[in-house]
C-alpha cells in the first residue's frame, strides 16, 4: 500500500523536475548553436572541434563509464576513422558512404581489441589498449605510401548537404553539431534500453551477471566495438574539419586526455563527457598564455581531483548531500 503511494509521490515530484532539466538542456544546446555567430572563425573551429571530440568521448564513456572496461586506445580508433576519411574523401568517395564504412571498420577493430578484455582487466587492459594505440600510431607514421607518414594527408575535401556546400566554418559547425546531437541521442536511447542495463551489470559485477544469463563475452566486446565506432565517426568529422590528417593528434596522449575527460566529468554519467571535453578541448585554448605550464598544472590537477573527488566533477552534488547526512 504505502509502497504504491510512495512511488506515485516520487513520480509526481520527478516529472516537473525532468521537464525543467529538459528545458535547461534545450536552452544550452540552442545557446551553443548560436554561439559561433558571436565568434571569429577560430572560435567556431574550436566549437566544431569540441563537437567532434564529444562524439569520441561519448563513445568512450559507454566503454569505460557504463560497461566498466578500461581503454587507453580511443585515439587510435579516432585516427583510423580520420585516415579512412582522408584517403577515401580525397579519392572522391561520398562522405555519406565514408561515414558508415569508417564506423563499421572501427566497430570490427573494436571487437578485436575487446578480446584481451575477456582475459584480463583494469590495468592490464589499460596497457593492452595503450599498446594498440602505440602500434596504430607507428603504422600511421611509418607506412608512408598509404598515410603520408609524418607529412600526413592534406587537402581533404568537405562534404555537401543536399547540394549545399559545407565549406563555410559556420555551415560545417552546424552540420557537425547536428550529427553530434544525433549520436548522443542514439547513445542515450541505447543506454536506456536493456542493453544499457546489461552493460552496467557487467561493470558492477561480472560474476553475478554471468550467473544470471548475461553473456559477458558479448557485452564486453560490444562495449568496445560501439565505443570504437563512435570514435571512428568522430575521426571522419575531424578529417573533414581540419582537412589535413597527420599522426600527431592520434598519439596515445590523446587517448589519455579522452580517458581523463571521462573521469573528470564523472565516469558513467550521461553528461559527464560534456564537462570533461570542455576541460580537454577548450581549457587548453583559454590557458594558452600559460604555454607548457598548462599541461603540468593539468596533470597535477587530475591527481588532486582524484584524491578529493574520486567520482568526478558531477559527483559534487551527491557528495554534498552525503556530507550533510553524515554530519
Amino acid at each position: 500500500m504505502s509502497v504504491v503511494a510512495d512511488d506515485v509521490a516520487l513520480a509526481r515530484t520527478r516529472r516537473p523536475l525532468l521537464r525543467t532539466a529538459n528545458i535547461a538542456i534545450a536552452i544550452v544546446v540552442v545557446a551553443f548553436a548560436l554561439l559561433p555567430l558571436l565568434l571569429k572563425s577560430y572560435g567556431t573551429y574550436l566549437c566544431t572541434l569540441f563537437c567532434v571530440t564529444l562524439m569520441a568521448t561519448y563513445g568512450l564513456n559507454l566503454t569505460v563509464g557504463y560497461a566498466g572496461q578500461m581503454s587507453l586506445g580511443q585515439a587510435a580508433f579516432y585516427g583510423i576513422g580520420a585516415y579512412i576519411a582522408a584517403i577515401a574523401l580525397k579519392a572522391g568517395i561520398s562522405f555519406y558512404l565514408v561515414l558508415p564504412v569508417a564506423a563499421i571498420v572501427c566497430f570490427v577493430v573494436g571487437l578485436l581489441i575487446g578480446f584481451p578484455a575477456l582475459r584480463v582487466q583494469h590495468h592490464y587492459l589499460a596497457f593492452a589498449t595503450l599498446g594498440f594505440n602505440i602500434l596504430v600510431y607507428l603504422v600511421m607514421r611509418n607506412e608512408e605510401k598509404i598515410t603520408g607518414g609524418t607529412y600526413g594527408i592534406s587537402g581533404v575535401p568537405r562534404p555537401t548537404l543536399f547540394g549545399l556546400s559545407l565549406d563555410g566554418v559556420l555551415a560545417f559547425f552546424w552540420f557537425t553539431l547536428a550529427a553530434t546531437l544525433i549520436l548522443i541521442a542514439l547513445l542515450g536511447w541505447l543506454l536506456r534500453s536493456p542493453w544499457g542495463r546489461a552493460f552496467a551489470a557487467l561493470r558492477d559485477n561480472p560474476i553475478r551477471a554471468e550467473s544470471l544469463g548475461i553473456n559477458i563475452t558479448v557485452y564486453t566486446l560490444l562495449a568496445f566495438a560501439i565505443g570504437a565506432a563512435c570514435a571512428g565517426i568522430a575521426g571522419v568529422f575531424f578529417a573533414a574539419l581540419v582537412q589535413f590528417v597527420e599522426p600527431a593528434p592520434f598519439h596515445f596522449a590523446a587517448s589519455l586526455m579522452m580517458l581523463l575527460a571521462i573521469i573528470v566529468g564523472g565516469s558513467g554519467r550521461f553528461f559527464g563527457p560534456v564537462i570533461g571535453t570542455v576541460v580537454i578541448v577548450l581549457l587548453p585554448e583559454w590557458l594558452r598564455f600559460m604555454q607548457n605550464w598548462y599541461l603540468a598544472i593539468f596533470g597535477f590537477a587530475v591527481v588532486a581531483l582524484m584524491i578529493w573527488l574520486p567520482g568526478g566533477v558531477l559527483s559534487i552534488p551527491e557528495r554534498f548531500a552525503l556530507g550533510k547526512v553524515r554530519r
Partner: protein, 291 residues
C-alpha cells in the same frame, strides 16, 4: 654470427634496465596493489636530479647517492603519503588515473619549468669496446649488466635472507595473514616504495647515458617496464627479469633484421600475445577468481 652476439649482449643490457623498472613495478603491486603509470617519470626525475647535483660540482657517485636519498623521499614517501594512501581504498582505477595524471604533471613540469631539450649524461663505465668471437662488445653494456645483476641479486638476498625482507614477502603474499602474524604491514609497504624509488634511480643511472636526459624519456621506459612485468608474470619477481631481457633482446634483433621503425612495437606485440595466450605471464601462476 658476431653481429647477433653483439645484438644479444646489448639487448640484454637494455633489457636489464627495463627489468629494474619492472621489478619496482611488480614489488609495488604485490605489496600494496599499486599500479604506477608514472614509473617512466620515476626514472626521468632522478636522471635530472643527478644532473643538477653534478652541475653543482658533485662527482657522479655522490650525485647518485644523493639522488637515491632525494628519490626515496620524493618518489617513495611523498608519493605514498599523498597519492597512494588516500586512493588505494577506492580500488585500482582512481589510482591508475591519478598516476597517469602524475605522469603528465611530472613530465610537463620538467619541460615547462626546466627545458624541453635532451641533455647528455656521463656514463659510469669506461667507453670503448673489446672483441669476442668477432663481436664488438662495449664496456658500457657489460658494466650495465654487472651493475644490474648486483642490484637484483642484492635485492633477492635482502628479500630472502633478512627478517625484514621475509616480512615484506609475507605482506606481498597475504597482507591479512601477515598482519595477524604481527608484522608491521604499513612499514613493510613503505619499504617497498623506498626500494622502488632506488631501483628507479639505478635504472636512470644506467639508461640515461644512452637515452639522454629528456622530459619525455619515461614515455618509452614506463610502458616497457609494465610490459616486461606482464610478459614475465606479474606475481613473480623473476618474471620481471625474464620479461625485461626478452624485450631488450628482441627489440635489438627486430630493429636490426626487420625494421628499426617497428622496434618500439616489439614489446607491445609480445605483450598482446602473452595476455591472449597466457595472461598469467610466462613464469606466473594462474589465479582463480574468488567468489
Amino acid at each position: 654470427m658476431g653481429e647477433l652476439l653483439q645484438l644479444i649482449v646489448s639487448g640484454t643490457a637494455a633489457g636489464a634496465i627495463y627489468a629494474l623498472a619492472a621489478l619496482g613495478f611488480t614489488l609495488l603491486w604485490q605489496a600494496s596493489g599499486t599500479i604506477n603509470f608514472a614509473q617512466g617519470e620515476f626514472v626521468m626525475v632522478p636522471a635530472f636530479i643527478m644532473l643538477f647535483c653534478m652541475s653543482a660540482g658533485a662527482p657522479l657517485w655522490l650525485a647518485f647517492l644523493a639522488t637515491c636519498v632525494i628519490a626515496m623521499l620524493l618518489l617513495g614517501v611523498l608519493f605514498k603519503r599523498i597519492v597512494v594512501d588516500p586512493l588505494i581504498r577506492h580500488g585500482v582505477i582512481p589510482l591508475v588515473i591519478a598516476s597517469l595524471g602524475l605522469s603528465i604533471g611530472l613530465k610537463q613540469l620538467m619541460r615547462a619549468g626546466y627545458s624541453a631539450q635532451a641533455f647528455p649524461f656521463p656514463s659510469p663505465f669506461p667507453s670503448g669496446h673489446f672483441a669476442i668471437a668477432g663481436a664488438a662488445i662495449s664496456y658500457a653494456d657489460v658494466g650495465t649488466l654487472l651493475f644490474a645483476a648486483i642490484i637484483v641479486l642484492g635485492l633477492q638476498a635482502f628479500l630472502e635472507r633478512t627478517v625484514t625482507g621475509r616480512a615484506m614477502q609475507a605482506v606481498a603474499q597475504n597482507t591479512d595473514a601477515a598482519r595477524v602474524l604481527g608484522i608491521d604491514v604499513r612499514r613493510m609497504v613503505l619499504y617497498t616504495f623506498l626500494i622502488n624509488a632506488v631501483l628507479a634511480v639505478v635504472a636512470a643511472l644506467l639508461v640515461t647515458p644512452a637515452y639522454l636526459a629528456k622530459f619525455d624519456m619515461g614515455d618509452s621506459i614506463g610502458p616497457k617496464a609494465f610490459f616486461a612485468a606482464i610478459i614475465g608474470g606479474f606475481n613473480q619477481t623473476r618474471g620481471a627479469l625474464l620479461g625485461g631481457v626478452l624485450i631488450g633482446v628482441l627489440e635489438n634483433v627486430v630493429g636490426f633484421y626487420v625494421s628499426p621503425a617497428y622496434k618500439e612495437g616489439v614489446a607491445l606485440i609480445l605483450f598482446l600475445v602473452v595476455i591472449l595466450v597466457r595472461p598469467e605471464g610466462l613464469l606466473g601462476k594462474a589465479e582463480e577468481r574468488k567468489v
